[in-house]
Symmetry: C2
């Protein structure tokens, strides 16, 4: 039914029940499974403390911080790689605009199903709604939006 | 994985490959399968020929026309009922606002996956985009948006 499933994940979704659905669907369809997480560069204004989001980071520039986030993402997602029984090569950390990176990967790698979550839950994750929306509108393949529990 | 799948269909999607996906997913998950089609009442202006969409219908009022469309939908969807191997009772024709009817049914019947298409293709079907959007935003369950071929 599907040959290549792409699970677009946020860091805080690991260990959640969305992962169980990804696993089950992969098993049922016997599809190849890739995981993507996109680190969105944070405007330097956040680092200057202007918005009060990240404090004490005056000495870290935006590019450096993005790099740190990228490496941290890889670490955080290691247990997921194991739980999903995929290889390191099937975990993709991209830097850029979330939906754009996900759609570009999907097209390049002939993904036929993107799995994403349909509602963000906390703080910055509210942005997820617009990412899912953009994925849905831009995807050339099927999209499964898994409803996150409140 | 899923226990009750709801396939929200447009009339012109029957016989298309979306149906194959619905069938396969139902088989893989062994879920109960329901089909819903919503007839949206057409403003009487269309019947007066004002927009030139339906001509020669001056003597048919809006309510009567909706009723005709409802019955016609049932007829048109009969072959789908057979192909999907469901009972007549699992085919639901609703009258109202598409996304509202679909979401209400899903909630009432404990649907855990709604399957819809992600892009309309012809004429009025362009409206489907907003229906899918509204389903995605309003659904309390998972939504699979199947990308229609161009």
């Amino acid at each position: 039914m599907y040959k290549h499933i792409l699970f677009a994940t946020e860091l805080n979704e690991t260990k959640s029940y969305i992962e169980e659905k990804v696993k089950k669907l992969q098993r049922l369809t016997q599809a190849k499974l890739s995981v993507i997480h996109v680190v969105e560069p944070i405007p330097s204004a956040y680092y200057s403390g202007e918005y009060g989001i990240i404090s004490g980071a005056d000495s870290v520039d935006s590019i450096g911080s993005t790099k740190i986030l990228e490496e941290r993402s890889k670490e955080v997602l290691q247990p997921l790689v194991k739980r999903l029984n995929i290889t390191e090569q099937d975990l993709h950390i991209s830097i850029g605009h979330a939906s754009g990176e996900i759609l570009a990967f999907a097209e390049k790698e002939n993904v036929d199903l993107i799995i994403t979550s349909s509602h963000g839950v906390h703080g910055l994750q509210l942005l997820l709604g617009s990412t899912t929306n953009a994925i849905l509108h831009g995807a050339k393949c099927d999209v499964l939006a898994v409803r996150l529990k409140e």
